[in-house]
Amino acid sequence: MGGWLFDPAHWSGTTGIPVRLAEHLGYTLLTLLIAAVIAIPLGAFVGHTGKGGFVIVGLSNALRALPTTAVLILVVLWAGLGDFPVYVALVLLAIPPIMAGTYAGVRAVDPVTVDAARGVGMRESGVLLQVEIPNALPLIYGGFRGAALQVVATATIAAYTGAGGLGRLVFDGLALQEFGQMLAGAVLVALLAVLVDLGFAGLQRLTVSPGLRPVGTGGKR
């Protein structure tokens, strides 16, 4: 495997590893963006109103059960080749954890805090945006990072429909019985996943209020 991975020939050109990495990252980030735009408002709204929680949990579980390959194939069969089927499949994969995390996060905000928010005269939008969401951020990030890991791992299947990404290495390696190439693909995917996760961990540190960090025995009364 090392041989394949460290062969300089595989690090250049339009099909070189850097290109594949960039493509893979591209799929991942755009997917997460779309999924977040859909899932966070939904989860937050349902968490805020407390109505429809059952639907949210059921829906995310059902979505989790959807085999990504099948979704991919179906969309290809309906809509033809291209990146669109890949995004549909990956977004469907990313929605459940993000939605569940957001829902759980908003629900888990201490009712006393929410009550206080209303008590000081916040409107419902203020309660949600200024209090519930900031307090739910750790759990929202939890769901989001879980989704990111899965998307990075699963973006591999883009190659199934002829598209790029690190999946190319895996699929080509599989077809050629080049285990070195395949393993290199798998390792790079795992590595990318770790890097992406680190990136979001950094973002989380920057955006989550320090007041929500677990405090050691020193800080807490």
């Binding site: 085999p67 390959t69 099948a70 979704v71 194939i73 069969l77 791992a153 895996v170 699929f171």
Partner: protein
Amino acid sequence: MTWIFENWERFWEVTEVHLRLSVVPVLIGFVLAIPLGWWASRSQTARAILFPFANILFTIPSIALIVITPVLLGVKILDEINVIVPLAVYTLALMIRSVADALSAVPGNVVAAANAMGFRPLRRFLTVDFPLALPVTIAGLRVATMSNISMVSVGALVGLGGYGQLFTEGYQTDHTEKVLAGLIGTVVLAVLADGLLLLIGRLLTPWARAGR
């Protein structure tokens, strides 16, 4: 839908395989996750080792893991072991966290009360900690089961994979209905499994619905 009825026998055949390939890994992964999760719930070191490891395991693309497993295990190429092992690994990776979180969430004063009454560690684990961790554990198990059921299809790459067979065939012959049949099968199986776990959870944790 008509495809399912017209080809009931074949549908049932892949269903059986799919069911077996999803249930067995979940059971294995879950059973292994209990001691490891317990360890992680008690020791910071264990967490520091197990969690990143589980995370990385989870990021290995299933396609790659399923294809590589036969090479690593050296068993017969068409043996179901080749799908069961990687899926069990994924379940394990998911469930270590669930079990550890569930055990850590057992209220400290209850644990203290158990210790103070003279429970020895094993008995305490079996009769206090673990039962109290069940609701969270089962929630985790539901998620793990769902993703397992959906992932079994990838096994089609190595000639296994239950409904995955229908996806491949349907794809190659441009046969939407066959793909849909597999999809429906998967979702129905998932919903049934989810319902069953929910029911088991309720039966095992009657106290969770008491009060409020």
